[in-house]
Symmetry: C2
Subunit: 746 residues, 2 copies
């Protein structure tokens, strides 16, 4: 390979930005106001609705910097003396060993092997502010091999993050601790994303790097690089085997994400033993094929200078992401368990811990950080504060010169939604032309793109079917990264995880992504991480039923609505027409910590009387009713494309003298959030004659229609035929609703 | 690249096995009896249970060969005259064009571009018997780019398959037709697997090639290669972008599947336009990294000899799979739409169809097959019959010499289960030691491996956690392909799809695969294809709840049980102890056309009184009851690890004088299959005091407990802590069940 030349640089020292010794600190933060935006107005923080207007909370005050703005000068700093580095590295190893031992659960092998690269990243390379983990311009770090989280906890602890104190290390993997079994951004400030399920992290990192490249292209000026950070990731053999990693890394190469630097812990061991049993491909060659710069550090256990040189080389390659393959020994230091699967996922055991202490010459008590190590790391608190202060000062200058851009960037950094943004959403009347909700969705996206500076996204090679192109923007590409239409290719899983990275990069970024609803099966693991990690991704899922017709059962979702209704912290929305589609987008944008899935039709649907944006926010609501006293003869309940059927059946039944309520049940989760009184006003307990209709599995509908009601749906796979024919053959018809309603209400 | 040397061979003609002109045919099939097996007894087809003893139906008689055994001699046959080839290729193109046009739906672009490679495969290269699509030793073909299915339908039609007659072509994508919108093995004999969702097909093909390599290694003898076929696949850019393809192809390279030949339709167009917008990696380099032999045919539209030479070269490389990158023009022949996305997924339109007819000089009516083309292809019926007859004759000789092996192979070919196989399953008493169901599962797997010759499988790098190793066998590897432990690496999605390929290779192959239950999210698309395509894969899914403890919410399934209960044609089984685990395996093995998912515990569980193998077969059954007259005060319902909790709560409540029924609800689908009488005997309508407990989402449980019952479960994400602590904090406890039961039955 042509690209493993870095070893010759092994004596090079990596320059690290450090502060002049005289950098003054004090407690006056630089003033950052929510100053007026010229293009987009921010609403003030007031009134009961203000929380909704702020897409994401500001970082808690405790984390806000208290360092005066000052220019941090990048100088060539000397690396710490090697013995101290070694001692720091062993501190990391033993913090991991001790925490896993105390919990009697966890993965000591990776931290022991990756401690050198971890030390170099957090102590020498990365720019961050331990006292404000949310500082915007920080370098991002992702531990894609999330099982090795004690590596990251040890590093956060040494660096001075308040989220990982000694007691947190001692509570590793315990109830209520901030040091859970895998890194969780929602538990531990300093952790950027939630990893553990393999391959997700590297794909998240691609999203973080995409966000940086995009924002830098939009906001940087020749005289001011206001957005400028790296994204580092450590991934292991497991991540490399996962398809999602290949998808995301193919895109990273395509996009030329030069500030993405992936350190691949090449330790040749996975849970089942030597990787020889299942993983003999040439990762280097594959990554060259993917358009990455590839470096091999053969001496990852002790070759500090080699690692430093590789990172330096990676930074110098600006048009490609870099994979640094770092060959390490899993469980390095353990005399009897190193280089074996036994050290991967279990505590070493008291005896082996002792042996490892002896082997590495570590005389200290568990969890002890030697004073010189502690002192060495202590500079990161003032340094970090100064980094942030320097940036704040830079931003203040930027704001003076580029007022509009500064306001827009600030809204992305802080997650504040511009006042009145929701007024941009289109509304419809029953006279508006019938249309597919996928087309109505495109109208919403294009309307929102004008008022939401952080909205960007795209489709997995189905933009023209999912209708997701933002017409006012071009394609985000290697040489046009300021644009907002992202072309993901046929890579659903990577797409979802990249969007998680984008969402978690900055509170004001609102990524959306799209494919056919059935192909959520390809990206479900990433969607679950959206839900778990509170990444407010908007999933635009079209072709949401047998209504797609001829493509047949491989393309027709059946169980998908139910499967997401069962998933915690995700909103499953199935709008029926234009107003409901707009309402779904309103909900999706406001729910910054709860991802939303919009199930949208391929086929045309009428604009129904009674639907509304406000109705959607309640999840279920009455669109028509000719009864009085909250006692209709029958309640007909529909979602999405079948609300039309319910409405038509209602009209017919009313002609025959029945009192009929028609309810749109666009989101079960939102309905669950309503008061009991409201629920009773829509679905009165006394009315048991209830018929639901939805072109999907009936699974779960008993909850809504009750034991005495009837759920009309599809509990088999679909079929290849024109849509109307399938609806008829499957009994998803007005006639079926009428028949059921008569049976129940007679 | 070093491996694109084939172009120099462009003048070479590919020898195709053809029959001597005198090969006699007649109507006496070779006798293949269900002769006695020395190691494994086959039960006779009789009694009501016999259908269950045959894992898969024999191919319908209509397809059984009626050709006398005769030795087909491989000779160097001349390829058809070029003009005729061209005409045949255009026939394929226009059958596709016309069918898509008539349906006004479909994808003409791929068939038009891939017609040359399709022609060469089906007319010159592949060995098959059109009148018996299930002939065991046929070459397998997979159209991974399934949207181009009209290519395959046209080829099957020309080759003489009864499943695709002219009227079927005319019914393309219509209700009830055998030519659905994507290839479906369960609709169209001659289609091996179900494709359409991209990347699945190439992974299925890896499974088919694995099966061939495995069976060949087990059964071939120096004097008799009784198993000997190739697996061909056509895949497109979309497949190449999907992560699953990379996973499966990495394994194919690792395993050295030399008889897997993938033709990559390199047409540079996907739905969103030129692949330049999202797919600029070097596929060639990536595949070299994956350990494949790579050939590039630059002239895929017209370079027949180049394609032939490439396939010849691919066959000559025996230790690596081959990727033949064939550069084509999508929609070749269409003067205005070729090489554009507009020809990918829509009918050409009458005007462009006319223009294409003119452009390619095609004077015929729609759906017309010119007589000389028809005549040319007509030889495949006698040739195919002779191929099968020759193989049957070979098998008869094999059977004489290698009686045991022949019997075992025959059972794999026919899918017959040996008589009494289920007696191998272990049984347990309440005195048997408590154990995790994952360990009990391993006892079952190892017991079954002794009696089921077609059982093989493995885990996605979690064999030692999923407990899936077959102790009597070694690892299936490149040089030990006769072994049965498959090491999939951390590639869940590829694993599932590979198992689909194995299952659909031969009725008697029973693949199982394993990972943590939560990671079904990674492989859900493949699992859905198992269900849809009736591939009886056994999914061994351990660590099935918060009971896994410290790994935390990324690893703890919550909504997964519900999500699979909502999926059609898949069995979701959650056994509670040893007997139920054995019962789950019995169900899984018998259900050859319905895949099974076994959710298994990480934690130890007691062997409960009242559980049984037979009970599991009914899905839900009473394990204890102190009531009379089918009127208990309360019914407690549990699944899996929570059945113990229900049983304990029952004991407590009985001490307090209640009459309590405890029901194990191991599989909702199997319970649904029971008679109304049986259901009433377990869950009498009159008893509304019902409490269910399951460490998962309560979604859907209203169906079982009714509006007046209570479902105890977990409707949030999990947590990282010791398992017992999480159970307590989440209220999954005996106390909670007792409290609910008292409230409902007071």
């Amino acid at each position: 390979m042509a690209s493993t030349a870095s070893l010759a640089l092994s004596q090079a020292l990596l320059p690290r930005p450090s502060l002049p010794a005289t950098a003054p600190n004090n407690n006056h933060p630089p003033s950052i106001h929510l100053s007026s935006f010229s293009r987009i107005k921010l609403s003030p923080l007031s009134s009961s609705s203000s929380a909704h207007h702020y897409r994401r909370r500001l970082p808690p005050p405790a984390f806000r910097t208290s360092v005066r703005a000052s220019a941090a000068v990048e100088t060539l700093g000397a690396t710490a003396e090697t013995a101290l580095v070694e001692k720091s590295v062993n501190t990391i190893r033993f913090l991991a060993i001790d925490a896993v031992e105390k919990a009697n659960s966890g993965h000591p092998g990776l931290p022991m092997g990756c401690a050198p690269m971890g030390h170099i990243l957090y102590d020498e390379v990365m720019k961050y502010n331990p006292k404000n983990p949310y500082w915007f311009n920080r370098d991002r770090f992702v531990l894609s091999a999330g099982h090795g989280c004690m590596l990251q906890y040890a590093l956060l602890h040494l660096a001075g993050y308040d989220s990982v104190r000694e007691e947190d290390l001692k509570n590793f993997r315990q109830w209520g601790s901030r040091t859970p079994g895998h890194p969780e951004n929602f538990e531990t400030p300093g952790v950027e994303v939630t990893t553990g399920p393999l391959g997700q992290g590297i794909a998240n990192a691609v999203g973080l790097a995409l966000a940086e490249k995009h924002l830098a292209a939009r906001f940087n000026k020749p005289d001011c690089e206001i957005v400028d950070h790296y994204t580092y990731v450590i991934l292991g053999d497991g991540c490399q085997m996962e398809g999602i990693a290949n998808e995301a890394c193919s895109l990273a190469g395509h996009w030329g994400l030069g500030k993405l630097i992936a350190l691949y812990d090449d330790n040749h061991i996975s849970i089942d033993g030597d990787t020889e049993i299942a993983f003999t491909e040439s990762v280097d060659t594959r990554f060259e094929g993917l358009g990455w710069h590839v470096i091999w550090v053969k001496s990852g256990n002790t070759g500090y200078d080699d690692i430093r040189a590789a990172i330096k080389e990676a930074k110098a390659v600006k048009d490609k992401p870099t994979l640094i393959k770092i060959t390490t020994t899993i469980g390095y230091g353990s005399p009897n368990k190193a280089n074996s699967y036994s050290v991967h996922g279990s505590a070493l055991g008291a005896k082996e811990v002792d042996a490892t202490r002896k082997n590495l010459g570590w005389p200290y008590e568990p969890f002890h950080v030697p004073e010189d190590v502690s002192k060495h790391w202590s500079r990161h608190i003032p340094d970090g504060a100064a980094f942030e202060a320097e940036w704040n000062s830079k931003f203040a200058e930027y704001e003076k010169k580029y007022k509009e851009e500064a306001a827009e960037l600030k809204s992305i950094i802080e997650g504040a939604l511009p006042a009145g943004w929701e007024k941009a959403l289109p509304t419809y009347t029953p006279e508006s032309p019938a249309d597919a909700t996928r087309n109505l969705s495109q109208q919403c996206l294009n309307a929102l793109a004008k008022v939401l500076p952080g909205l960007l996204g795209g489709s997995a090679d189905l933009a023209s079917s999912n209708m997701t192109l933002l017409k006012m923007f071009g394609d985000f590409q290697k040489n046009t990264p300021e644009e907002r239409n992202v072309r993901f290719g046929v890579r659903e899983h990577g797409m979802g995880a990249i969007c998680n990275g984008i969402a978690l990069h900055s509170p004001g970024l609102i990524p959306y992504c799209a494919t056919f609803f059935v192909f959520t099966d390809y990206m479900r693991a990433a969607m679950r991480i959206s839900a778990l990690s509170e990444a407010g991704v908007i999933y635009v899922m079209t072709h949401d039923s047998i209504g797609l017709g001829e493509d047949g059962p491989t393309h027709q979702p059946i169980e998908h609505l139910a499967s997401f209704r069962a998933m915690p912290n995700i909103l499953m929305l199935r709008p029926a027409d234009g107003n409901e589609t707009a309402g779904a987008y309103k909900v999706a944008v406001l729910n910054s910590k709860r991802p939303s899935i919009l199930a949208l039709s391929r086929q045309k649907l009428p604009q129904l009387p009674g639907t509304s944006i406000d109705g959607v926010a309640k999840g279920g609501y009455v669109i028509s009713d000719n009864s009085t006293g909250n006692k209709p003869d029958v309640i007909l309940i529909g979602t999405g494309s079948e609300l039309e059927i319910a409405a038509k059946a209602g009209d017919e039944l009313r002609k025959e003298g029945k009192t009929v309520r028609v309810v749109s049940f666009v989101s079960w989760e939102l309905f669950d959030d309503q008061s009991d009184d409201y629920k009773e006003s829509v679905l009165p307990a006394a009315v048991t004659a209830r018929v639901s209709i939805e072109a999907g599995s009936t699974f779960g509908w008993e909850k809504i229609v009750g034991s005495k009601g009837k759920a009309i749906g599809i509990d088999r796979f679909g079929a290849s035929a024109p849509a109307g024919k399938i609806y008829k053959e499957f009994g998803i018809t007005v006639e079926a609703v009428i028949a059921a309603a008569k049976e129940l209400s007679s």
